[in-house]
């Protein structure tokens, strides 16, 4: 093995993999689309001179440590920032570099750590400026160091909701309330599972205490119904949700806010793993994810998966799976023998197990109710890029369309610039409900994963 391992994605998983390799003197190529490594969790402020205290003491410490560890390994890591991997085949990646030129990057060993994006849940008014995905708003306060405009309402499900509420408040933003779709009793039932990560659980409790102290109400079993405004968001309707997340429209309350952040979980970015033809499966939440073994190896042994691409488990797990992928590579390269590799892997797997039990508890209480797909009205846009409404999707399903490719051809969902990332969740939910099948297909990503200018091909050969 002569070529350095190539790592796609410089978030928690990719950085941890690069560090683990560097600690054994093995260099790597680390490619990330942003101007700073860290991914959405640990990118930190993009401008200098910022005191990140408002993001919480534990987070500031973790952020500092990761970047400090990474800095000590810098000489081993060929870091390609502002560079986007837009295609892959079994020999090379196609990278759109900082100058917007395509260049192939050959590999012998690969770590795919492209992370995830947020699940978008459409409801009337979701396309208004001022409505954002929760992680996007968190990124705005963490990396852009800018507060949202006006009063902010947070809706969705999961532990990210109270965390972002606290961070927003600490950053000086006004939070009018947090609306957690699942009932409190469902969270309470998972206490034992959540105790697998006592620190996280405690953090959660202290966040709730913080919200209470600052008069930010936390509503359980409530969710968003609609957003309204002239040109931009000015009002959000919320209502109680039952077990199936059917909103009780007789009890709708209107909240006057300028910003709405909606968080219903995440979907792995499988564009590259699918292009590489790796094995995939569906999660209980209905998303497609790449499959891997205990070494984080895909079904192609020299291609590893790390972080959320292989299933959503969050930043801490991502670092561990990144490290395990690196251990596997070190073993494949003969740097570690089998015994050393297994010993190290078991140590990381042990830490991962606690996170796994914690995550299972979270997944059980955040399980989305089937009535969620009933939020959009007939004229609510589902695919914003192609302006496809719910009505068009209903009609296609009535006409017997059975899978994602068929729905795409019939309605043009997913044919726009975002290539379906924002509508795939809804379309998949509807198709699964309509057909009763777990596998209704997924978006088939092709080169390029993101639009690239024709001028980017200027220096690319036309001969194989």
């Amino acid at each position: 093995m002569s070529m350095r391992p190539v790592i796609v994605g410089g978030g928690s998983a990719g950085m941890a993999a690069a560090i683990e390799l560097a600690n054994e003197g093995v260099g790597s190529v680390l490619i990330d689309e942003a101007s700073r490594p860290g991914g959405v969790v640990f990118r930190g402020p993009l401008r200098g001179g910022v005191d990140v205290g408002y993001l919480g003491a534990r987070y500031s410490k973790a952020l500092g440590k990761l970047h400090a560890d990474f800095a000590t390994c810098a000489r081993h890591i060929d870091l390609r920032l502002n560079s986007r991997v837009v295609g892959a085949d079994n020999q090379s990646l196609m990278m759109l570099d900082e100058q917007e030129q395509l260049q192939p990057v050959g590999y012998e060993q690969l770590v795919l750590a492209a992370g995830c994006h947020e699940r978008n849940v459409p409801f009337p008014g979701w396309t208004l400026p001022g409505v954002m995905l929760l992680g996007g708003l968190q990124l705005q306060i963490k990396s852009n160091v800018v507060k949202p405009l006006g009063r902010t309402l947070i809706a969705g499900t999961g532990p990210l909701l109270p965390l972002v509420a606290c961070q927003l408040h600490a950053a000086g933003a006004k939070v009018t309330g947090v609306f957690e779709a699942c009932a409190f009793s469902r969270i309470a039932r998972e206490t034992l599972a959540l105790m697998n990560k006592p620190q996280l659980f405690l953090d959660g409790l202290s966040m709730l205490g913080y919200l209470k102290l600052h008069g930010i109400p936390m509503h359980y079993g409530w969710g968003v119904v609609a957003a309204r405004g002239e040109g931009e968001l000015s009002e959000v309707s919320v209502a109680p949700y039952d077990q199936a997340w059917q909103a009780d429209l007789k009890r709708v309350q209107r909240e006057s806010v300028q910003t709405l952040a909606v968080g219903y979980g995440f979907i792995p970015r499988t564009q590259l793993s699918q292009q590489l033809g790796l094995a995939h499966g569906y999660s209980a939440d209905g998303y497609l994810r790449a499959e891997c073994n205990a070494w984080q190896q895909s079904n192609v042994p020299h291609i590893h998966l790390a972080g959320d691409m292989a299933g959503i488990r969050g930043g801490e797990a991502a670092m561990l799976t990144g490290r395990i992928a690196a251990v596997s590579i070190l073993h494949q390269r003969g740097v570690l023998n089998a015994e050393q590799a297994i010993e190290r892997r078991e140590r990381y797997l042990g830490q991962l197990a606690g996170i796994g039990r914690f995550r299972s508890g979270v997944e059980r209480y955040t399980a989305r109710g089937p009535a969620q797909v009933e939020l959009p009205q007939a004229d609510t846009v589902i695919c914003r890029c192609e302006q496809v409404t719910r009505e068009a999707i209903d009609l296609a399903l009535q006409q017997g369309v059975q899978d994602m490719a068929g729905l795409k051809m019939r309605t043009r969902v997913s044919m726009g610039d975002c290539q379906g990332r924002m509508c795939v969740g809804y379309c998949s939910d509807r198709l699964r409900a309509a057909t009763g099948r777990a596998d209704v297909g997924w978006l088939r990503p092709r080169f390029p994963v993101d639009p690239v200018p024709f001028s980017a091909f200027k220096h690319l050969g036309t001969e194989a």
Binding site: N144, V145, V146, G231, E232, R384, C418, M422
Partner: protein, 101 residues
């Protein structure tokens, strides 16, 4: 244009860029979106169907913060780092300049 929503003030030596013709301060390293956020401008893109959108995913996925930068349309504000003198225009779409009826 005034930056009113910064969580902490910009460090010394800001650079200048132009949003819809108006000068605004920016810090080296930040994105075009963070400048737009900071001045409270939220109606950013006009899509191919004339619909106006603002930043939504904030991380390069949704293509809802497309602005024209130095004359080139459809650039993701959230994925573009500021440069001195950069000219940013909002609500520009090469095939659809009108709000739909």
């Amino acid at each position: 244009m005034e930056r009113t929503l910064d969580i902490q003030p910009l460090a010394a030596d800001p650079i200048t860029l132009h949003i819809n013709g108006s000068p605004v301060n920016a810090a080296p390293g930040e994105t075009v979106l963070s400048v737009l956020n900071a001045v409270g401008l939220r109606q950013l893109a006009r899509n191919d169907h004339g619909q106006v959108s603002g930043a939504f995913c904030g991380m390069g996925v949704c293509h809802c913060c497309l602005v024209a930068i130095d004359g080139r349309a459809k650039r993701r504000a959230c994925q573009t780092v500021v440069r001195p003198g950069m000219r940013v225009e909002t609500l520009v779409n090469p095939i659809c300049s009108e709000v739909p009826a």
